[in-house]
Symmetry: C2
Subunit: 240 residues, 2 copies
């Protein structure tokens, strides 16, 4: 199988010297890539700046992604050519539109004007005591995946912080439907440490039990196993 994996975090530039970064080491994506390689699959890894990477391998292609625009271009290109899509990247929800000083914003009678502006300077001046940054929602990359390839097997990820298991499952189920994902790996930042990573694998099929894993390695192996099973099922069905 050919596996497309996203990993690490995206950065949306504010100007040429600073940006908004989603924190992610890329360690889970790296491990998932390594386990697929070990099982003899081909891996294309779309990795955020500074993400941990597997060692070079003849079946591995690594492409560096900076922002959501990069990620959209890469997934549009590679999704039609892949069998499995594993979207473990921490993707920026918002991207900067315009930054200016607080007094300018407070003096405006219509804040909508700032949504139509953009900074032309390479490095935004830093004189005023307070500044205001306007941001707009980025396009959701995951919702376009099945459009580019209806047969791809899609694993989404949902990371929340300090919520109940019930709430985490409910949010993950909504994401599953919204994004037409086959699986969502739901996790809570408070249950991720250097040695532990508690994850819940939730299937599109409501009859499937939720599978729990407790380390990154367990999560990676679970994703490899479920990918292979689901791929085999699809292909058996198609060939009948």
């Amino acid at each position: 199988m050919r596996i497309l994996i996203t990993s690490g975090g995206t950065t949306e530039n504010i100007d040429q010297v600073r940006g908004i970064t989603n924190f992610a080491t890329g360690s889970l994506g790296k491990l998932i890539a390594e386990r697929f390689l070990l099982a003899n699959h081909e891996v294309i890894l779309l990795a955020g700046r500074g993400a941990l990477l597997p060692k070079p391998h003849p079946q591995l292609t690594v492409l560096t992604i900076t922002d959501v625009a990069d990620l959209l271009a890469a997934t549009t290109k590679w999704t039609p050519q892949a069998d499995i899509f594993i979207h473990s990247m921490a993707v920026s929800d918002y991207t900067p539109v315009y930054m200016t000083d607080f007094d300018t914003v407070a003096a405006s009678s219509n804040l909508q004007e700032f949504l139509a502006k953009s900074n032309t300077e390479d490095k935004i001046a830093s004189q005023s005591d307070y500044q205001v940054l306007f941001l707009k929602k980025t396009p959701k990359v995951i919702t376009s995946i099945k459009r580019h390839n209806p047969n791809i097997i899609l694993f989404g990820f949902k990371l929340l912080v300090d919520v109940s298991k019930e709430h985490l499952i409910s949010v993950a189920r909504s994401a599953l439907t919204q994004n037409q994902a086959d699986y969502v790996l739901a996790n809570d930042l408070t249950e991720i440490t250097a040695t532990m990573h508690h994850g819940l694998l939730i299937s599109q099929n409501p009859k499937d039990a939720i599978i729990e894993a407790y380390t990154k390695l367990d999560i990676a192996d679970l994703i490899v196993r479920k990918s292979e099973e689901t791929y085999d099922q699809h292909h058996t069905r198609h060939n009948r």
Copy 2:
């Protein structure tokens, strides 16, 4: 001599999953540290998250810095104990105060109210099409250095983007006075590539010629040489 070097970039958290990062690889700070170690000096390196680091060395101490608050604490502690301070870190000018959706801000009759708020959620919700982030100026770390140690020899850095040489020098001279620096290394992002790094070393003494360097290694060696010369001058003078 004992050399305190800051390197890499700081990150100011917006919430637990994202933050504003100043871009910096830490490669120049690493090289400066290595050249001082080679000249038999002791180095304390305050390095931003993900900054490139020298190999371990008996005369080298590395401390990791996340945000400006960390940096202030570390410089307050170490500045009185150092002879030379080299501030090559890309430090965040602003830190997040409060983030909320655009409609809430547009509906407010007094934007000042948002400067007194703070987000209590661990991960700020991402439903609205536009959001607004209010930021406040961070304390300038470099202005406090001579207060903590009037005898320290202070090297500031000034990075601008795509400006004339005259403008760069004029901004660097202002920074020199404002921060009571002994030297400022002025550079322009458009003149920094993988192989080249054009820098201008500007001295507090207006009679000193501006010294130009064209690679990171040249800049590092120039800083080592000027540190040793200036330290010797101070100590000769004191002992007369």
